[in-house]
Amino acid sequence: MPSFDYKEQDSGIFGKISRPLIKVDVYSFTKDKWYGISDVLADTGADISILPRNLGESLVKDITKGKIQEVKGIVPFSKLTVYIHNLKFRINSKEFELPVAIADSDDVLPILGRVRGIDLFDVTFNKGIKVDIEE
């Protein structure tokens, strides 16, 4: 069972904050190989998984060939343009294909969201200390 310790990062309000950051592997169709991605936010509040633009460009030939969408969050009137692609992820030895929003921006952190992502697993957030992920 993969287990990931929460990682401490800087926060404007709290000084330091621990976040549930996990590691996934992602398959690059352009390089025909797997890359690891560290510090992916396990986010049950995200409908879809998301990757920043430069990272997406190292995985698919042309990110703009994906279905264009606008993603909204909690900030009023703020929208992010994304391109939806089906990518292959791997956690431990489990491979799965999921829709991923590749952002038209690098100001977006990698997120593993629910649809065909987190929802495939039993995920336990242990008191801000670690995240356990079971098939």
Binding site: D10, P52, V71, G73
Partner: protein
């Protein structure tokens, strides 16, 4: 963390490059470590993280 995002290239657990030009850093790491598995870490800017995404 600073005011702007950065990427870090890892070979095993060792950071071998850090910056914003991910493509160049990946190319250099792949030349230098052709048989090693490479990982990418996104380092976000400092701030409060509220990530709720909906399509």
């Amino acid at each position: 963390m600073g005011k702007f995002y950065e990427y870090e290239i890892l070979v095993g657990d060792k950071a071998v490059a850090r910056g914003r030009n991910l493509k160049l850093m990946l190319e250099e790491a792949e030349k230098k470590y052709p048989k090693k598995k490479i990982s990418i870490r996104y380092i976000p800017p400092e701030g409060i993280l509220i990530a709720i995404l909906r399509l």
